[in-house]
Structure formats: C-alpha cells, structure tokens
C-alpha cells in the first residue's frame, strides 16, 4: 500500500504546536469555529490553524516530533494451568500526533490485552511503550480510555461522569464544568446534564462515555470497540457522529474495531492483526481525503480496500478455526 497523502484536500486544520487543545480555551476558539463553519470550511481545533494535516505531520517528522504513541515490539504471554499462551507477539505500531489509527483483527487477537498494556494495567513481557518520546511502559494515567461498554458511573449525573477524568487529575473545576456543558449541548445531550445514566438510551450513554474520554486531560485516546454493543442503525449514526467530531478536534486516537467499514471510514491508518498470538499482519494507509463524508463508502476504491481487508480477516479466522 502506498500512502496517498490527503493533504491537498484538507481544510484548515491545526492545533497549537505543543499539542494542547483549543476547546478548553473557551469562547474565542468557539467563535472562530462557528465562523469557519459558516464559510464552509473545516473547523479549526485550536489556534494556529491554517496548516494541513500532511504539512503538519511532515513538519513533525522532520522536526523530530515523536509519535503520540509508539508500541515497540511488545510481547505478552499468560500462564493458565501451567501452560503458557502467547497473546501478543512482537507487536509494533505507532500513532502520530492528531492521527486516527485503527486496529482490526479476529476475536481473540489480543487487542484488549494490548490496550491494557498501553493503559498500564499490565506489564509486557518484552517491548516498550512510549508516548511523545517518553517511555511510559507500565505507567497509568497517561491515556484517555473509552471502554466497550459505556461504564458510566451510575451514581454520577451525566455531567459529573463527563468531568470524571479531569477530576482525577485535579484541574480547575469551574472551567471544566463550563466546557462540559458546552460539549453536552453540542453532542445532543443538552438538558440531560443532571440526569443519571440509566435514564439515557444506549447511544446517548455511549456519547457521554466518548465525551468523558474527549474531555480527559490526556492527549491520546484509546477507544475499545466503542460501538460494538449498539444496534446497526445507531452504530452507523455514531460512526458519522464520531467522524465529524474527530475531524473538528483532531486528537491522537487508537481505535479497536471488528468492523472493517468502520475502520476504513474513520482512520488514516489501519493495522490488521493476526489471530492468536496477535501480531501485525498488514499496515494499510487509508487514502481518502478529509474531511470525509459517508459517501466514500460507495466509491470503488473503498470497496476494493474493504474486499482486501475482509479477505485477510477471513483467512485469519479460518486459520484460527483450524
């Protein structure tokens, strides 16, 4: 696969060079965004906009800005009844700053174990994790995480749930609350600030869980099959929603999914994992320009990629079945 840069199609997307995000800044950036939207261009994620993704990424690479996440040859085995099962076999991947990267693979390919290792819940047997050039192997609190089930805290109101990650890190409360209000409105949860999670539908809970991850102070987001528990209709709605939201607010994202179409629609790069033990089989650079619209799912190029990926997945599933 060649990397077809989507640079020239990009609108004005940018962020401050230190990777800080614009929305916590409040009023002004929002006003700018609104103007930009009216003008029909892509919104900016923060001050210093005007450069394209590729320019930025390119500049970052040249200037030696380290990737937001680098997983380096991680290996992990579990012992069960004195038998060793290899779960991850020399997995290496990376997420550049403000890049959306997906992992697809058959079930049992160790994706969740990989997330636990990146999140610091488990130590790898070999290999390292680094974020922004800093070794963080086995350290917790470096990532913002969105689990498969929304896992909202039932005794917290939606607003307090969304604020949880910031609260744990101890930031300014009033500002965070204002930002949360703004975002809840924006994702269609306005009026539900004081509601408890069980009062919301599955899709709304998932949106709240996503906001909790988005408003977390950590830059890198790990999304673990966030839509797998939703019905098909809600799911495709959530995909569109996430695509739009992410294109407005470029964050570095590592996304796990079983759904090939979802991965192609959302990501800039896809790592195809093998069955157990999990390892990176293929790396696919997704060539579609941004901002993407859902219509690309009908383009011949998209269908061809989808066929290719499906075939790899089928082969892996077949191997696993043997």
């Amino acid at each position: 696969m060649t990397r077809i840069t989507d640079a020239k199609h990009e609108g004005a997307v940018g962020s401050s060079p230190d990777g800080s995000r614009g929305w916590t800044g409040g009023g002004q950036a929002e006003a700018e965004q609104a103007d930009a939207e009216q003008a029909g261009t892509t919104r900016m994620a923060g001050p210093g906009g005007g450069r394209t993704e590729a320019e930025q990424a390119g500049a970052a690479r040249i200037a030696g800005v380290p990737p937001a996440l680098e997983v380096n040859s991680v290996t992990k085995a579990f012992f069960h009844r004195r038998r060793e099962t290899l779960v991850l076999d020399h997995v290496s991947l990376k997420v550049e700053p403000q890049e959306f990267v997906s992992i697809v693979g058959p079930s049992g390919c160790g994706k969740s174990t990989l997330f636990h290792i990146i999140g610091g819940l488990e130590q790898p047997d070999a290999g390292t994790i680094s974020m922004n050039g800093k070794p963080v192997t086995g350290q917790r609190g470096e990532i913002s995480y969105m689990p498969q089930q929304p896992a909202l805290f039932p005794w917290r109101t939606i607003e307090d749930n969304v604020l949880l990650a910031g609260e744990l890190k101890g930031g300014p409360r009033a500002e965070a609350r204002a930002a949360a209000r703004h975002w809840l409105d924006k994702v269609g949860l306005g009026g539900f600030e004081r509601a408890y999670p069980h009062m919301l539908s599955g899709g709304m809970q998932q949106r709240a869980a996503f906001l909790r991850a988005l408003l977390a102070p950590q830059e890198l987001m790990l999304l673990d099959e966030p839509f797998s528990a939703l019905d098909a209709l809600t799911r495709s709605e959530m995909q569109r929603w996430l695509l739009e939201l992410w294109e407005e607010n470029r964050r570095s994202v590592l996304f796990i999914t079983h759904n090939i179409e979802e991965a192609l629609l959302l990501s800039s790069r896809i790592y195809v994992f093998s069955g157990r033990p999990g390892s990176v089989l293929h790396t696919v650079e997704v060539p579609f320009p941004r901002p993407r619209r859902e219509e690309i799912t009908e383009s011949p190029e998209f269908l061809q990629l989808k066929r290719q990926l499906s075939q790899w997945m089928r082969e892996e599933q077949a191997k696993a079945a043997k």
């Binding site: 995480y145 689990p147 805290f153 039932p154 005794w155 609260e167 069980h198």
Partner: protein, 253 residues
C-alpha cells in the same frame, strides 16, 4: 397511586383474615384469656393501659437509638478497615464469620458480670448483634466493584484513595443498606433482650413484669409495640436509602 394500592391490599387482606380467624378461634374454643387473649382483648387493653407503657416504650426507644448507631458504626469501621488493609482481612474475616456461631444473646449474663447493670452492657449487646450484618454487607459491596469501571479508573491514573471514594464507596451503598435494614430490626430485638437480662425500665422489663402476673394480653401489647418500633426504624432506613441511592434504576415490575 393505583399500583401502590395494588401492592398494599393483598397483605392487608391476609392480616385481616388472620386476625378474624384468631378472634373466632378464641371464642369458639373458649380459650382462657391468660393463655391466648383475643385480638379484641389486646386492643382494649392497649387503650386502657396506655399511660404506664409509654414510659417503658420511651426507655426502649432511647436504648435502641443509642445502640443502633454505635453498633452499625462499629460494623462500618470494621468493614472499612478490613477492606483497606487486605492482610488484615485475610487474617480476621474467617474469624469474624466463626464468631457469629457464638449466640450474642447468650453473652448477655456475662456482659452484666463484666459491665454491671448500667447502659454500657446493653449497648455492647446491641452492638454485638448489629455490627455483623452491616460489616458483611459493606465488605461485600466494597469488594464487588464493576471491573470495567475499575479498569477505567486505573487507566485514568486514579490513586487508591480516589478509587475508594469515587468508585468503591458509592458502589457499595445498595449492599450496605440491605445490611443496615437487617441491623435495624436486630437493634430493637437486642434492646429488648438486654432489658430482659437486667433493667428497671423498658419494654423488655415490662414483659417480665406482666409474665409474673400472667397478663398475656399486656405481653401481646408489648409485642405489638416492639413490632411497630422495628417497622418505624426499618422505614426510616429505607427512606434514607431511597434518597441516597436515588441514582439506581427502579425495578420494572
């Protein structure tokens, strides 16, 4: 309102039916009233003798209202301590379970020997019967945090104290309250038993007095008062639970 009534009327009818059968049986079989007074006799007695029994009720109520918070407080402290210090839990939890094979009430006479006839032995007895349900329920609730939420907290970098206050403690409330409700009824029972063993006032003492003169009807009045006390305490706890655990989805039935 209608569904509330639907819940209320079947047990209400059952109670009325039971009281009617009781009244009928006493008059049909000519049971002497010192052996089993009829519900009518008991009702008449409770109206006639009201003044004397209220002082005793107040004494029992006071004892319960001191003993219950002390007992549940001890239970909570034990639960928190064992939860936060895992090796202590491993060492003491089995002993705690075993200790419940000792009938707390049988310790009453010993407590009198050790602590005399004052308030202290009674409080100790109530504490002994109250703390266990609370301690076990609270420990169970604290240990059964949702695994995904726990993973989330850890990945987000929460420290042990944050995990405790923001996840384990609020998550344990429903379980804790079921323990509290059991303890509430135990507390009233403990108070009455403590008064049997050594007291000069209270419902338990009143029952002993009436037993001596075969006033079965008055003993039944005392039992009704004990039941009412338990129910009121239980209802108060349930009300507190409803307010504190208001985030929990209502059961759809």
């Amino acid at each position: 309102m209608r569904s509330y009534w639907n819940q209320i009327w079947p047990p209400l009818v059952a109670v009325i039916f039971f009281l009617g059968a009781w009244q009928l049986a006493v008059s049909v079989f000519h049971v002497p009233s010192w052996m089993l007074p009829s519900p009518g006799d008991i009702a008449r007695e409770s109206r006639g003798n009201a003044s004397g029994i209220w002082a005793h009720t107040a004494a029992t109520l006071r004892l319960t209202l001191i003993g219950f918070p002390v007992g549940t407080g001890v239970g909570l402290i034990v639960a928190l301590l064992l939860h936060l210090v895992p090796w202590l839990k491993r060492a003491l939890y089995p002993l705690l379970i075993l200790s419940q094979n000792v009938p707390s009430i049988a310790l009453g006479p010993l407590l009198i020997v050790w602590f005399g006839f004052g308030l202290l032995p009674k409080i100790v007895l109530i504490t002994l019967v109250c703390f266990f349900p609370v301690a076990v329920a609270a420990m169970g609730g604290l240990a059964q945090s949702d695994r995904i939420m726990m993973n989330y907290m850890k990945m987000a970098g929460a420290d042990k104290w944050q995990i405790f206050t923001k996840l384990e403690l609020p998550g344990s409330l429903p379980s804790l309250f079921s323990g509290l409700k059991i303890s509430a009824t135990y507390a009233v029972m403990g108070a009455v038993v403590a008064e049997w063993i050594g007291a000069d006032k209270g419902i338990g003492y009143y029952m002993l007095l009436q037993k001596a003169s075969y006033r079965t009807d008055r003993m039944f009045v005392a039992i009704v008062i004990i039941v009412l006390l338990s129910l009121v305490l239980f209802a108060l706890i349930a009300l507190l639970e409803k307010w504190l655990v208001r985030w929990k989805p209502r059961k759809t039935s």
